[in-house]
Assembly symmetry: D2
Homo-oligomer: 300 residues x 4
């Protein structure tokens, strides 16, 4: 990272050294909020933000995200986790504790279209995206100059239908070595194998150049142009093995009209893709998304 | 029509008694705008608004809509039409001349869900929709009270897959007798036959309860809920023989999230349907739409 | 109320007979959420929705709104209130308990422009606004027919600068007799006295025909037209003694351009006023607004 | 300019070598459109886009913008201008002919906040802003590194209330030497003298960090925070001698709520400022804006 970004990140970490987040889902029943807030109080924590949702208060699934300040969080993290197990077991919770000052590590995958990558780098440089962009992997050389100018390691790994497994094994090695927390497919035009996807379940975010489920598949802007649509959209989602069918995180649209040729639709689409992908990544980094079946709960 | 609406319409007609519109499409070539504006000038008309579009300035299709003030328009309408034929022939134009003071006659088709009908009636009463709602046709009795309270004739014509041809012959008779200019399918849940559609080509506007082409077909809100979309949309379009595939006029969306159950998606959807349908109708009434192939040029 | 609305309201009440809401503000400190959720759990209540906000986690003001299901809520309401006092005192809480099935009573004040009144009546009839519109008070006769057609009592009370005190005493009498919970100024063009405002503190919602604080005062649309603005807005706010300066609840805007004459700006403005006022009222009815100084916390 | 941008600009120029625009305003009367389109036809030009507006068809001011393709435009430019004078005189027109391939030269003025400058540089690099950013002038050194990295000349000219005249004389010299067409105040925090403004009448675009006319003057975000607004806006306008009172070009807003501290309002505001300023500049570069009194006609 360059020195300005390092400074921004360090300031952020210092401001959030005692800030934690707990994300929980479990069968709904009375007493969950009381149990969680009692526990946090017993640890000396002050709740800063709390969001919850239940698919059905009588017997559905309950989701809660609590953000809190806890003195000496880093030293107490292990004991908190250990102590919380008792509460968690009582309510059959799946849960996750995160220290906000542990900055997440991102790997960006990109092919030849660089607008989404560029947006992420800009937001990162301007301090709007607090993360560690640890590396960029591409099956093309197009992004190298831009990436290396920011002192981010760039890995050129040729990838195609033919050498998929080989390419993925290289990628997985690099990802593991760098302890990557989140993979961002910023217009990466290769399909990932089920095995790769499984390794990073709910940790791969893709941007789809359409308002799903419309125009799935190839050449969406050509399809949209032919159909004469009045809106163009984009969708960010977690990657699953069903192509373009993973849990949707965010969608947005912009207005177009009869004057917009395919080239223009692509330009407008690119602009939506940029913002929709950046939003999804921010929510993920702030632990605001819980995947439930093929949907997301977003506590934005 | 009740007296308040009659008064609004009469005021409108008086203000627009010399207001005309000409809509043209023809192969693009230099000199079209000059020829049309020369012609209007020779008739003593002043151009108020002019919109044009060309699919391709070198050899595409050219579209123009001109709105103008012309003293004594009503008396001169025939001679203008006759005189314009010469210009039109020279450029191989398809064209249409409209006197704004000739209020268009609308027939609304509706089934059991009344929100779109209700919206149109409200806008009509409040003077936001200047038209003659001549009659309402329904395959249910649900709308009768609302419609007749406004002194609009209501025709109950049972319609189903089985009696389609019979029902349509009744409908067509009523439409013809009332010189209907535009049919609005305001959540009318019956399919129209090709023969019916052909009789009113580009004169039937439908509202589709989805952001086409996503969720074509039955139960779109159930589909949208299952897919976990973050946006809900609606589409208004001219009716062709391809179900839900006619030229799109207008689309819009609203944001939803994980908390929205199917019931709520329907409510939100209904709200978008209302505004998207009303917008499409207004554009049609103001002669702002030209159908070109399976697309629309909208001079809004 | 007419029978359809009565039916809707009764269905709503039945579905929410055990639904309660508690709104709290107090000095922030650790343990508040734990105390409140423990209390609700001890009463057998299940938390359905919970929103909180702190102006400053170290020593600011803390706000929380909890919606819950509690078996036999109506019978237990008093004992719950009594029992909660202990918790409340411990944390120096200001608080309010509401039974959702106790439908709030609204009085609408209106002058000659009826679009906001009309919107509220439409939403009420269509079941989008669950409330008891108990009466309408006006200093003009313009609204009488519309209001009485829905069997809502209409009170014509002439009001002007000169007879303000007399008019208000009449109004206050009617409001008290009808146990009014919320007064909606739906384009009511009279100023209220400090004494009146104090009687219904944070219970009077006004719609201001501008995007405050721009164009305060008379003829905002003329001002906006002259200034050549590209956006038109509206603001709903609680009424205080500073004219148009009370806590803002909601604002919205629409795009305009050079073609929009004053008449059109007014029409567009009226449309925003309608939706902005309706939104503010819904949030108030759902106890989603807490007034804090001259601002609002809205848990939407 | 760096080589990529040079290439983009050259491609643009080549595609538009025969593309011209004529902007006209004159007293409204019948025959203007006919005269203009006849003239263009006589020159062999094909009209590509045409927009018009009249403040009042019976005796107001008429505005028209015509974009056309004319073979050998560059060679014929002078003779076209000469020949058009006759038409112009007949209708008392003020008019301007522009060759699209003559790329406009921009000077950006900036102080310490760089987000607007940064946005313009990004859009310029990505080919979304086709212009010649000839130089940057600043009263601070903050922007130097960023600007010079793109090979754009950077001029540090200290400016304050005290040395205003001296600083402006330096600035004017540089602007004149570089044949600057448009000055962009991208958060330049110095007031310009009437004499400076007059030299570049309707050629200076400013971004105001507020939704004018709300929060004119210092610390708008502090004011907005204190007032508890629910929307934050920004305004781009031409600079006149009335501070922040020049003709508005574009405005936009974003939604905020009680959780947004002043810092966050500023961040959100900065994001709107960026897009609103960029939009205004694009419209200016495409000759889409006509200033009329203290307002703009924007043919977007």
């Amino acid at each position: 990272m360059n020195s300005l970004i390092v400074k921004q990140v360090n300031t952020f970490k210092k401001h959030h050294e005692n800030r934690g987040r707990i994300l929980i889902n479990c069968p709904d029943q009375p007493g969950i909020v009381a149990a969680v807030s009692d526990f946090l109080y017993s640890q000396g924590a002050n709740i800063i933000e709390s969001n919850q949702y239940s698919t059905n208060p009588s017997g559905g699934t309950f989701f809660i995200r609590v953000e809190f300040e806890c003195p000496n969080l880093k030293e107490k993290e292990r004991s908190i986790s250990k102590d919380f197990t008792e509460v968690a077991n009582k309510f059959s919770m799946k849960w996750k504790l995160a220290c906000v000052s542990e900055i997440k590590k991102i790997a960006i995958f990109v092919s030849k279209e660089l607008h989404c990558l560029q947006e992420l780098l800009w937001e990162w440089q301007s301090g709007d995206l607090i993360t560690d962009i640890s590396l960029v992997i591409s099956n093309h050389e197009a992004a190298r100059v831009t990436v290396e100018a920011l002192n981010i390691p760039f890995y050129y790994i040729p990838a195609s239908k033919e050498n998929r497994l080989h390419a993925e094994s290289e990628q997985l090695k690099i990802l593991a070595e760098n302890n990557i927390d989140l993979i961002v497919l910023a217009r990466y035009m290769q399909i990932l194998t089920p095995s790769f996807v499984k390794t990073y379940e709910n940790q791969i975010i893709n941007i789809h150049h359409s308002f799903l489920p419309a125009f799935i598949g190839a050449k969406p802007y050509e399809q949209a142009y032919k159909r004469g649509v009045k809106l163009i959209g984009a969708t960010s989602h977690y990657v699953t093995n069903d192509l373009d069918e993973g849990p949707i995180i965010e969608q947005d649209i912009m207005r177009v009209d009869h004057r917009d040729k395919i080239e223009n639709l692509k330009k407008i689409g690119a602009s939506i893709e940029r913002s929709v992908l950046a939003t999804a990544i921010k929510w993920h980094l702030e632990d605001r998304i819980i995947v439930h079946g093929n949907k997301t709960i977003v506590f934005s």
